[in-house]
């Protein structure tokens, strides 16, 4: 008899086909199911590169000779270094490193060629912004090798004997900001941005969607309460939550991971506000687009995924192809990571983080105005 038995294929198929009908109705979920794997594939497959090349390098040369030119050429040929500039002073080079403009400074000291010819083993200094050890380690090991081989070609004829006193130059590598190459120093401050993005986007998107789903919004709006009071009243608690999270991470970073904190933490807390607000703006926008809480979570995830992968949190930013860097450059997390690492690990001042602050400001304005416009429309 049909309908009896332990497992009926007919009933089973009825449930399966009903699931597919429902899946098709929820367009957003359907799009996400297709979109998230594609996004992951593009990001993991094309954008992520754990062996970053073409890292911006400046030359601080006090000695111009065939030898220094050979070294510079060899560095460029290695593919790891890309000479972007020549600077005249150490202060200028330091500024570029501090602001994160360049990854390396190659310093060729005065009298380098004379010392080399005399067999005095002059020093060749490569200073690296080693905040993110994974971004620089390959380049650094390549550098040691290439400096020797590059000079070997120039040391011909009467200078041939210098090759034997290997290496003919003293190669010095100065890993700034994170000399011991401790990954936690880079990850823990970065985590602050990641946690804030995750909580603020997901929670605000969820909270406001839930409110509408349950109909409590309708009740509130029939009272004398103003839409702006509702919205700011909803958002401010999450800003406070954001700061509590920052506090927890800072304390853990300081006392558990022993991350050196060079910069002004007050400055950090202050400049975190636009970042927090930018994420809330995204959450708010999502809440106006999502028809239910599941969609809100999916959209938040859709934003979170590129944020974590393309911002330089997980993988070196400079290892990514230009298009991925452009995408990453639009995300607030990318700039916030540079600010946090800049303040904590490099002791950056307000002026030094400014280049990364304004993109967050722009993002904030765009996200918040879209969010607010859409939010107001949902009320009518």
């Amino acid at each position: 008899m049909r309908g009896s038995g332990i497992f009926s294929w007919r009933r089973f198929r009825a449930i399966i086909s009903k699931e597919f009908v429902q899946m098709r109705r929820d367009r957003m979920t359907f799009a996400m199911m297709i979109g998230i794997p594609i996004l992951q594939m593009v990001v993991f497959g094309f954008a992520i590169n754990s062996d970053p090349k073409h890292l911006p390098t400046v030359i601080l040369a006090a000695d111009h000779s065939v030898f220094s030119r050979s070294i510079v050429t060899a560095m460029q040929n290695s593919g790891y270094f890309e000479i972007v500039k020549t600077v005249a002073s150490e202060a200028e080079a330091d500024l570029l490193l501090n602001e994160g403009e360049v990854q390396f400074v190659i310093s060729i000291p005065e009298g380098f060629s004379r010392g080399l010819v005399r067999g005095e083993r002059p020093a060749l200094l490569l200073t690296a912004d080693a905040t993110d050890p994974s971004a620089t380690s390959n380049a650094l090991s390549a550098f040691r090798l290439l400096a020797e081989t590059a000079l070997a070609r120039d040391l011909e004829g009467p200078l041939r004997h210098l090759r034997r006193s290997s290496p003919p130059v003293e190669i010095m590598v100065h890993a700034r900001f994170n000399p011991a190459a401790i990954t936690q120093y880079n990850i823990v401050p970065g985590l602050m941005g990641v946690v804030l993005t995750m909580t603020l986007v997901i929670i605000t998107a969820l909270a406001i969607t839930r409110k509408r789903e349950r109909g409590t919004m309708e009740n509130l709006l029939s009272t004398p309460v103003k839409p702006m009071e509702v919205m700011f009243g909803k958002i401010v608690p999450y800003i406070i939550v954001g700061y509590v999270q920052m506090g927890v991470i800072l304390l853990a970073g300081r006392y558990i991971f022993h991350v050196p904190m060079l910069g002004n933490l007050g400055l950090l807390l202050l400049v975190s506000l636009p970042f927090i607000a930018a994420n809330l703006g995204v959450g708010l926008t999502f809440s106006t687009l999502a028809r239910n809480q599941l969609q809100a979570v999916q959209m938040a995830f859709f934003f979170f995924l590129p944020s974590i992968l393309l911002s330089g949190f997980m993988f070196p930013f400079r290892g990514m192809p230009p298009w991925a860097q452009h995408v990453g450059g639009m995300l607030p997390l990318t700039h916030y990571l540079r600010i946090v690492r800049g303040i904590i690990l490099k002791g950056n001042s307000f002026a030094q983080i400014l280049p990364n602050l304004w993109p967050i400001g722009v993002f904030l304005l765009v996200a918040l105005s879209i969010g607010l416009t859409r939010y107001r429309r949902t009320l009518d």
């Binding site: 109909g215 029939s222 009272t223």
Partner: protein, 306 residues
């Protein structure tokens, strides 16, 4: 009473969503202290009309006054004087009864909030649930909490959108007792409902269909205006008649009520003539007044034909 300024006095209010007219040139006048019943099929525009009155929606066209304020321009002045209860339970399920009420008291910026909330909890009999989460209350108590919440600020007008849907008869009785008590105190209520017994409890009724107001008046006036004639048939096997009677010329509705049938139609003579062959002694026939349900169903059918 009739001379008093109307609490609601709107002319030709219209609202459409995405090109679909939901409320079509609706004019309505409600007097102070009146309990005004708002009826009509699902999707007839009752909720939209109520939302326009309390400032949740802005009318596309039309004008009107609610509690002396212009509904187009002075929604902010109206809101503090109105208590609105939405169709769905819209308080916070994850707050307790007392927390919900405290929150509403603060939103309305009421003086002596805690004493006021205690007093209301006491008066509405919510005492034993005061610290229970609203989400865990039964349907009837949720409704009672929602009513309490919208009475906290002592509104002069209550806009209640299907307040008793899914609520048991005892809770409905209690609810109506409250509404009558408030009416005595001069509070006006506009209540939408699908229950005919509740419609009969209202001082006046309005029937809405596809956004248009079809009839207004007291229950008796509405019945009289319908022009329906009704017959009741009594007998042990009246249900056997249903199919046959439906085909008789002049019969528009045949409705069974247990061992009674209600047969009604607009043309009294044609109806009586058509029913004659069935009045043969096995069943007892009696001419009765049409009831509200028949009137409303007939209004709905007329609309569908037209």
């Amino acid at each position: 009473m009739a001379e008093a300024t109307p609490v609601i006095d709107v002319q030709e209010l219209s609202k459409s969503f995405a090109g679909k007219t939901v409320v079509n040139k609706l004019s309505l006048r409600v007097r102070p202290g009146e309990i005004y019943g708002f009826l009509g099929p699902n999707g007839s525009g009752k909720t939209t009309f109520i939302r326009m009155l309390c400032g949740l929606l802005r009318p596309d066209a039309g004008s009107g006054v609610c509690l002396g304020f212009d509904i187009q321009k002075q929604a902010d002045a109206i809101k503090p004087l109105v208590g609105y209860m939405s169709q769905r339970f819209s308080l916070y399920e994850d707050l307790s009864v007392r927390e919900n009420l405290n929150f509403m008291a603060r939103i309305y910026d009421l003086p002596k909030q805690h004493a006021l909330v205690d007093e209301n909890i006491e008066r509405m009999g919510l005492g034993r649930f005061a610290n229970q989460l609203a989400g865990t209350l039964s349907g009837g108590w949720k409704q009672r909490l929602a009513l309490t919440a919208c009475l906290l600020h002592q509104p002069r007008l209550l806009l209640l959108d299907e307040p008793t849907a899914g609520v048991d008869p005892k809770a409905r009785r209690d609810f109506w007792d409250d509404i009558y008590r408030l009416s005595e105190q001069g509070v006006t209520s506009l209540i939408s409902t699908h229950y005919m017994d509740e419609a009969e409890r209202c001082h006046r009724l309005a029937y809405l269909s596809y956004g248009k107001l079809l009839v207004t008046g007291t229950a008796d006036e509405v019945v009289a205006a319908s022009g329906l004639t009704s017959w009741s048939v009594f007998g042990s096997n009246v249900h056997l008649l249903i199919t046959q009677l439906k085909d008789v010329e002049g019969v528009e509705q045949v409705v069974p009520f247990g061992n009674t049938l209600h047969v009604s139609g607009h043309d009294a003579d044609m109806l009586e003539h058509g029913l004659q062959p069935f009045m043969d002694g096995e069943y007892r026939w009696q001419k009765t007044a049409a009831n509200l349900e028949e009137v409303f169903i007939s209004l709905m059918q007329d609309r569908e034909v037209a």
